[in-house]
């Protein structure tokens, strides 16, 4: 199988890159994503706040994704959803897996728009046990908003990035008790806008210059030890859930051994972490236009 332009990841960036590549004249585009529906993480972001720059209004994640998907429907961009890209090779072939089989796909250019993964607590030197009840913030968002799964009741959040703040609000609105956000720095890790919307109105405590040094609990987590970094004082806080918002890592594992070939483009959060979807989209549109042009004609 062949395609001129393969885009890996049908989130906001992948869809935006596909649209702009189509509009720039590329007529053979395949957009692959492991999820069963387009939008990447947008479908799990039920809160408003997307699209102020791009659309001049505040949309929810699913609405934002739907707008991109509707525009794509009017193009000839092909979707391969429920499709895992297993390998991308230096000879411009990729191996795709879905329920019908493996496909070896030859492409001329490739845009990687695979987003980010969340840094997990395993990467930190945290002592203690390894019980159930520890989730990443994005994971709890997907659990609650897409699968109706309830992560816990007495929740401590480690990290004060945007995802941590957004989930603190959702937990609170869902009747859960957010004990605090714990932030190692002296200031909030995310955007001021999210602090004013998600933290202040609900009087959720934020403990600055504080971190989690130990996890307690045998089966399920039943508490953590907090360390106040300036005083060195430690205290044990009971909780039944620990949610981590430790930051995002661009997901470039698929291309890590390829170097920087001219046919490879990066778009969206796997290029760099964006605070706003509009900025990821604007950048991806530029990438899409560059990738629309055949390499031999670009010279």
């Amino acid at each position: 199988m062949k395609t001129e332009l393969l885009i890996v990841g049908a989130g906001a960036a992948g869809m935006a890159a596909a649209l702009s590549a189509w509009e720039a004249g590329c007529r053979d585009i395949l957009l692959a994503d492991r999820r069963g529906l387009p939008g990447g993480i947008l479908p799990q972001c039920l809160h408003k706040g997307f699209g102020l720059a791009g659309y001049g209004t505040e949309l929810t994640g699913p609405d934002y994704a739907a707008r991109l998907a509707q525009r794509l429907e009017k193009t000839g961009v092909r979707f391969a959803l429920g499709t895992e890209v297993l390998e991308i090779r230096g000879d411009k072939t990729a191996v795709l897996s879905d329920r019908r089989g493996l496909t070896e796909l030859c492409f001329d250019r490739l845009i990687l728009a695979a987003g980010c993964r969340e840094k997990s607590i395993g990467s930190l030197p945290v002592a203690g046990t390894r019980p159930a009840g520890i989730f990443t913030a994005g994971q709890t968002q997907e659990m609650m908003n897409l699968h109706g799964q309830d992560p816990g009741k007495e929740i401590l959040i480690l990290g004060s990035g945007d995802l941590g703040m957004i989930m603190a609000r959702q937990f609170t609105l869902a009747g859960k008790h957010v004990i605090a956000l714990v932030e190692k720095d002296a200031r909030c890790g995310g955007m001021a806008r999210n602090f004013h919307r998600c933290i202040e109105p609900y009087a959720i405590p934020v403990l600055y210059r504080t971190t989690v040094t130990q996890i307690h609990g045998a089966g399920r987590i039943n508490g953590v030890t907090l360390r106040h970094l300036d005083s060195g004082r430690e205290e044990r806080i009971p909780c039944d859930t620990l949610v981590t918002a430790l930051g995002l890592i661009p997901e470039r594992v698929l291309v890590r051994k390829l170097g920087e070939p001219v046919w490879l483009f990066l778009a969206g959060n796997c290029r760099r972490v964006h605070d706003l979807v509009d900025s990821a989209v604007a950048e991806a549109e530029q990438v899409g236009r560059s990738a629309a042009i055949r390499l031999d004609k670009a010279l």
Binding site: S120, A132, H147, Q149, D150
Partner: protein
């Protein structure tokens, strides 16, 4: 009440191999495991090394078994369909004192017939393993050292035992043992087991299980240690197992390129402790050791830390015992107490040893029908593309990747549950889900749904590793 010829107490690596080897005779065998799954204790956390045997005292059971077991490991793993990497090891030193220690180990291993041992200069070691720190002064190269996934091996042995007729009884804890006219009665709180012989493989609790009926002259002083795991995408990983012999005579350190492709670092130096809780100073120790020996590793590639607990055997006076302890406190009753390094290497040898004892005691006939071959869950990530495509054609679930870090498909997860996984960790141990760089944050919700669906329970009832470790709803803690 159930009657058996032999009851094995404890479903760790040792118990699983004891049960499997008992099946070589015409003996009705039961394997009792207190937990919901096998290989959840000592077997679930250790250094994963198949040792060559140069480190043990010549003439001891440990040394003899280790050399023999190492030589037969390919055959064993082929029979059980478990990946085994004979990657070889370099024990490295950075100074004269440690150089001398390596030389002694070389001579020791040579006299025991450990094959292929070579003493290398620092330059030779660096040529062989460029990831090593400059300044390495010598290395003991052992080409026969290897690595295996300990729980994959134990689960394979358990499946092989069950296929040959052993009865696996989970959630069955031995609470009391008494003598009967024909042998022993084991009370479990659920039903009683009567048997003619008992093999006690209770790991950290082996002394206490023996004390249910007999005194135990050996006591287990659990010995905990910390480990780190680096992502398989980490740069500058060694190709060989690296063992560090410190100049100050302190605790050694290992870097093990695992069969999964990650890098295992540890253990730390620690006081005796009983639980599986990680300590911060232990992690710092491991990081410092890694930096000393393999300076190109990036701590940012760490994806997990965990603690292991070893059953360290001690005499009444508190002195440590260096050898394997195999107690025979009463007729037809054997205890494997304090089987630590190289227990993984010798698991099959030890199982065979006690099975032979029991078979001789019971005058059992050989079981001609014994078939040692077991087929593992076919892993999509280990298949070539043609085979993987064929697997999807036969079963579309092979086309659906559930764990994208470790490349595990829905077909493997469903098969793991069919084979006895009842928890998230049970699926992890059988398929590798959640062992990669995101540590399950992207597949856990799918696994929850699959476990609930296949086990016929609600998602809220699904646990990480047994009752009390519910994933949803905040668990059932009383804080």
């Amino acid at each position: 009440m159930q009657a058996f010829d032999v009851v094995v107490i404890g479903g760790g690596l040792l118990g699983c191999f004891a049960a499997r080897n008992l099946c070589r005779w015409k003996l009705d065998t039961a394997l009792l495991e207190a937990r919901e799954d096998v290989c959840t204790g000592v077997s679930r956390a250790n250094t994963a090394i198949v040792y060559p045997g140069f480190d043990h005292k010549p003439g001891t059971l440990k040394a003899e078994m280790c050399v023999r077991a190492n030589a037969g490991f390919e055959t064993l793993c082929r029979e059980l369909d478990v990946p085994f990497h004979r990657c070889g090891s370099l024990m490295v030193s950075f100074g004269e004192k440690a150089d001398a220690v390596l030389k002694k180990k070389y001579e020791n291993g040579h006299s025991m017939g450990v094959p292929g041992l070579r003493l290398l200069s620092g330059e030779e070691a660096l040529r062989m393993e460029p990831a090593l720190a400059a300044g390495v002064t010598s290395a003991l190269y052992a080409p026969t050292t290897g690595t295996v996934n300990p729980w994959e091996l134990g689960i394979a042995a358990c499946e092989s035992a069950a296929a040959n007729g052993a009865k696996l009884c989970l959630n069955t804890r031995a609470l009391a043992i008494s003598r009967t006219a024909e042998g022993y009665r084991i009370e479990t709180g659920r039903e009683d087991f009567i048997c003619r012989a008992v093999i006690n493989c209770s790991g950290l609790y082996a002394d206490r299980v023996q004390e249910l009926l007999f005194p135990s002259p050996v006591h287990i002083a659990p010995d905990a240690a910390d480990y780190l795991i680096l992502d398989k995408a980490a740069e500058n990983k060694p190709v060989h197992i690296i063992q560090y012999e410190p100049e100050d005579g302190g605790k050694g350190f290992n870097a093990v390129p695992t069969v999964e492709g990650s890098l295992l670092l540890g253990p730390s130096e620690r006081d005796n402790e009983t639980d599986f809780a990680v300590r911060a100073d232990g992690l710092s120790f491991v990081r410092a050791r890694a930096e000393r020996v393999l300076p190109g590793l990036d701590p940012e590639d760490t994806i997990r830390s965990f603690a292991a607990v070893r059953p360290n055997p001690q005499r009444e006076d508190g002195s440590s015992i260096g050898s394997f302890v195999i107690e025979n406190p009463g007729p037809g009753f054997w205890s494997l107490i304090g089987i630590k390094t190289p227990g993984l290497t010798c698991a099959d040898e030890l199982g065979r040893y006690v099975a032979e004892k029991a078979a001789a005691f019971l005058h059992a006939d050989a079981n001609e029908a014994f078939d040692g071959h077991r087929s593992g869950i076919p892993k999509a990530g280990r298949m070539c593309w043609e085979r993987r495509n064929a697997a999807i054609q036969a079963n579309p679930d092979y086309g659906e990747v559930i764990c994208c870090c470790e490349d595990v498909t829905k077909a493997e997860v469903l098969e793991a549950i069919r084979r006895g996984a009842v928890t998230l960790d049970g699926v992890k141990r059988r398929t590798g889900t959640g062992m990669g760089r995101c540590q399950g944050s992207r597949c856990q919700e799918k696994l929850l749904a699959l476990l609930a669906q296949e086990l016929g329970v609600s998602e809220a009832e699904v646990t990480k590793d047994g009752a009390g470790s519910e994933i949803l709803g905040g668990g059932r803690n009383e804080n």
